[in-house]
């Protein structure tokens, strides 16, 4: 805890909202995700760490030093706000070098440091452009480079994947992983998206109504979501796995309990996998199908969603499927029915 970031008994009250007794310990060099719905207070907590205001109660420690009453410029934490807010009156290079310029670093040294980050984030070709001429993904990478340039103790990323399309999201997530690995900087990343959190976080803190309700590793949350321990982290079919090999272009992902999931990915090592429940096909018989993944289990829970029915299928791993009401009745499914669940390798998101 000593060298990372710690939040101790932090409380702050506004007219219509309050952060309540928040305690958090983030190891130096780790990737921490603050997860919660809109209005849960995660951005306000991030702003407290950045120094936007002094909390009514509690302390914030950065590298063991109490920074609760220090101005933002003395905290050594870089803030990258939502919507990739850049300095519109400056070129990309000037944005990235802003903090170095503020510290009086000579131009040659600034260039050297910014060039490395511009290369790392693939934005070297944009140096002379102004922010108004950048796409959402490019703006986000500039924002990230600007935050990293000053070599802070931590970077605070508020919804870094907001306002970008799905493809760009995936590319930015790759950049975030790469940057974190290369720089070793502590990252606090705010999001409302559970899958996004699971895909990058080493640890996740879940916020609700101004309180920190759960903290744990994504794998723990995946276990909890599939074993119904009352976790507020809900993401059906989110499984922790380890890529153990490749076969005919497909990655083989060991998800424990002797089960292997086949998926298409370039990733290696530990990953999270996710399958949308509506992409899971249910059958009472083990039929020949092109789907590469097959699970066997018993229907343990049935939830009526109106035109569709959600089934929880308990076996070696718990799988959730959504079927139409008509299929549900035609197949005469019910709690206790023994079924097979299939899904294609192309339906597996590797996070």
């Amino acid at each position: 805890m000593g060298d990372g970031i710690a939040v101790q008994n932090l409380s702050h009250t506004w007219e219509h909202f309050a952060l309540r007794n928040i305690n958090l310990s983030i190891d130096e060099g780790s990737y921490f995700v603050l997860l919660g719905p809109t209005g849960s207070g995660k951005t306000l907590l991030l702003e407290a760490i950045a120094g936007a205001y002094t909390p009514n109660e509690g302390r914030i420690l950065v590298g063991g030093q109490d920074v609760s009453r220090l101005p933002p410029e003395k905290r050594k934490v870089s803030y990258a706000p939502q919507n990739h807010l850049l300095f519109d009156n400056m070129t990309v290079r000037k944005n990235v070098e802003f903090g170095l310029h503020a510290k009086g670093m000579p131009e040659q040294d600034r260039r050297y440091r910014s060039n490395h980050l511009l290369d790392l984030l693939g934005i070297s070709h944009l140096v002379n452009r102004f922010p108004r001429n950048l796409s959402g993904g490019e703006r986000q990478r500039v924002s990230l480079a600007r935050a990293l340039a000053v070599e802070p103790r931590a970077v605070l990323l508020d919804e870094p994947l907001s306002a970008v399309d799905a493809e760009t999201k995936s590319s930015i997530l790759d950049y975030l992983r790469r940057v974190h690995k290369e720089t070793g900087v502590t990252v606090i990343h705010v999001t409302h998206d559970q899958l996004e959190a699971a895909s990058v976080a080493e640890r996740i803190g879940v916020m609700r109504n101004g309180s920190m309700v759960e903290v744990g590793a994504p794998t723990e949350f995946a276990e909890r979501s599939s074993s119904e321990t009352g976790s507020v982290f809900r993401s059906d079919n989110l499984l922790a796995g380890n890529i153990i090999g490749k076969e005919a272009g497909l990655a083989l992902i060991d998800i424990g309990a002797g089960k292997i999931v086949e998926a298409i990915t370039d990733r290696a090592g530990k990953v999270m996998v996710h399958v949308k429940p509506e992409n899971v096909v249910v059958s009472k018989r083990s039929v020949d199908t092109s789907a590469r993944n097959r699970f066997y289990g018993t229907v343990s829970e049935v939830t009526d969603l109106g035109p569709t029915i959600r089934l929880k299928i308990s076996g070696d791993r718990r799988i959730t499927a959504i079927v139409t009401r008509r299929s549900f009745f035609e197949m005469q499914l019910n709690i206790g029915s023994e079924v097979y669940a299939f899904f294609k390798a192309t339906a597996v998101d590797v996070l």
């Binding site: 120094g51 936007a52 101005p71 807010l85 519109d88 503020a102 600007r146 802070p152």
Partner: protein, 223 residues
């Protein structure tokens, strides 16, 4: 001609003073919520709502040579009425509001996170103001200064009471009109009045020229 030069000079000084006072005040009002903020805001707007002769009366009851503040200055030999200082003081009161309000609105519309980003990157509050805030609000400052200058150069009501002499163009025009009528007046080869309408036309020409010059500078900076 000297009255017009005096108008341009005192209006210019007023615009400059409005920027020097109005930028920090507008920044304070636009950025922070504090007890009494609404009261200060209302006081700043008062000159827009009262007749300017009333503004002149209000000023002279404070700054007159025998009054509360004026007497103190007069004790040091400084007259706050009927002098260039009196003119500028009056013009600041009746026209600086435009600069303050322009800056206040600009600060309110500026995303406060911009300054937080800058400071989290290690920039001091001064560096942040100069490099981040100012480039975002300078157009509003210039617009405020132009409005202040334009309003100041057209002021007459409050000056009648606070600083009748030396006469700025607006007062001179009134004097010429009241004393000699609209047109040039010559008696026995002596020019008694160059004509209120002629001075007014010259005044319009000079004001429009300065206004266009400001606008051109503003447009050039925007490019």
């Amino acid at each position: 001609m000297s009255a017009i030069a005096l108008t341009v000079y005192t209006s210019g000084l007023t615009a400059l003073a409005a920027v020097l006072l109005g930028v920090p005040l507008g920044y304070l009002l636009g950025k922070y919520e504090f007890p009494g903020r609404s009261l200060i805001d209302s006081i700043i707007e008062i000159p827009l709502m009262i007749p300017h002769t009333v503004a002149g009366i209000a000023l002279i009851t404070i700054f007159g040579s025998a009054e509360l503040v004026g007497a103190v200055f007069y004790g040091y030999g400084i007259r706050l009425t009927n002098d260039v200082l009196g003119i500028v003081l009056t013009l600041i009161f009746v026209s600086a509001t435009y600069t303050v309000k322009q800056v206040e609105v600009a600060i309110r519309s500026l995303d406060p996170r911009l300054e937080l980003v800058s400071r989290s990157l290690g920039a001091s509050s001064t560096f942040t103001f100069l490099k981040v805030t100012l480039p975002n609000i300078w157009r509003s400052i210039v617009t405020g200064a132009i409005l202040t200058w334009a309003r100041a150069s057209s002021e007459v009501g409050a000056l009648f009471i606070m600083a009748y002499y030396p006469a700025v163009a607006s007062i001179l025009i009134w004097n010429l009109y009241a004393g000699y009528g609209l047109h040039e007046s010559v008696s026995n080869g002596v020019v008694l009045s160059p004509g209120a309408v002629n001075v007014a036309a010259l005044m319009i020409f000079i004001n429009v020229a300065i206004f266009i010059m400001f606008k051109l500078v503003q447009r050039k900076r925007e490019k």
